[in-house]
Assembly symmetry: C2
Homo-oligomer: 220 residues x 2
Amino acid sequence: MDAREQLLEAALKVFAEHGTRGATTRRIAQAAGVNEVTLFRHFGSKEGLLRAALSTGPRAVSFVDTHLPEKPVDPEAELTEFCRHHHQALFESRSIIRKCMGEFEEHPETTRTACQLPVMISDALRGYLERLRGAGQARGDWNPQAAAAMLMGVLFNDAMGRDCMPERFPYSERDGIKHYVALFLQAIGAGKPARRATAPASPARRPARPARAKTTASRR
Amino acid sequence: MDAREQLLEAALKVFAEHGTRGATTRRIAQAAGVNEVTLFRHFGSKEGLLRAALSTGPRAVSFVDTHLPEKPVDPEAELTEFCRHHHQALFESRSIIRKCMGEFEEHPETTRTACQLPVMISDALRGYLERLRGAGQARGDWNPQAAAAMLMGVLFNDAMGRDCMPERFPYSERDGIKHYVALFLQAIGAGKPARRATAPASPARRPARPARAKTTASRR
DNA sequence: GATGCATGTAAGTAAGTGCTTGCATCTACG
DNA sequence: CGTAGATGCAAGCACTTACTTACATGCATC
């Protein structure tokens, strides 16, 4: 309603499509349905508007809540939940993320602020993985930071590549996450124990794993 | 030497720094040490120059050789080799890759051609993983496409994020790859079997694994 | 020495860009 | 009613950008 809000919203949208250089004041004003002069009256300059839009927008779009519990109970369910939310957030903001990445060389400071969020999420995931292993729900001497990078890496890769190279992601978003989580659980030694797949041998018992609070739904 | 070559080289460099819109003909000509008019005489238009530069440049920079053998022998060594090369290629071209990604919405066709390479590499990796499992060197019912996405995802994530969010990658490039490969081997059921994590005991012999053609260097 | 070819130089054009100015209009509120 | 503040509108300004034109220069080859 308010011209100011409309401008912020339009700025974000035009920026996502055309980047800083392509987001001309004329284009933004038109997208906002507002006179170009009003833009300068409110924000002083194009740079001011973009800064305002980028500092408020993505903060609202994304979220600090990682959906990872303090005390791990059901790693598969919890990681799936995390992946779904994180992937969705990435996919929704993919245009803006790509633009920010592309402008890293020219506007490092803008990109830096945009990077704070993934850094925080990565930290949260790393902490969760450490707790998981501490509680004996995962085994191995893997590096938690690298493991976090691995999971967030696939999600990022999927969210960024799904639209521009669909051949690489023939499965649905939902199935993809299932596959990623299953692989990841194996990687951190928290996967399903007995697995006869191709070469069955002895389904050796796996060490203590606390009883599930709530079971996960899917299991193929 | 040749003005044409200098222009192509300069175009690629300026594009990597400023993107399509920021790569002005003046800037490119100056970077090439050539008169601006010469640019138009050779390539007709800025678009023509950029197209020529982008179609020759990255093809030379990257490589189709994935370093993955037809017959898997030593998965750890082979995947490490693959990761090193792929990561290095990604990291070296990170500026151009970021720019292309950022311009996907505006120039989908350009981005599409840039995407052909990762698609091919992904296919090669998927094939390798299938062969690996077929030969009994990996176990589990994981999805090969998703597994390929997982490994390429971390590499991509690392190569793109290492400079703009170093907090997320506190380890060296080399160590990172070691961690990723170790995690990945576990994920696809090709990791080291016995693993007492924090408390090492007997360096128990590992079960049948075909004799190494060439041994890998490091082993932590 | 003459011809042709690649390049440099100078100038200019039309369009777009960020931003400003001056003035008219509308609306809310005393 | 009157006034103040927010907005629209038209025009313009200084600058950049892609691209063109016209002409001069160097260099190799016949």
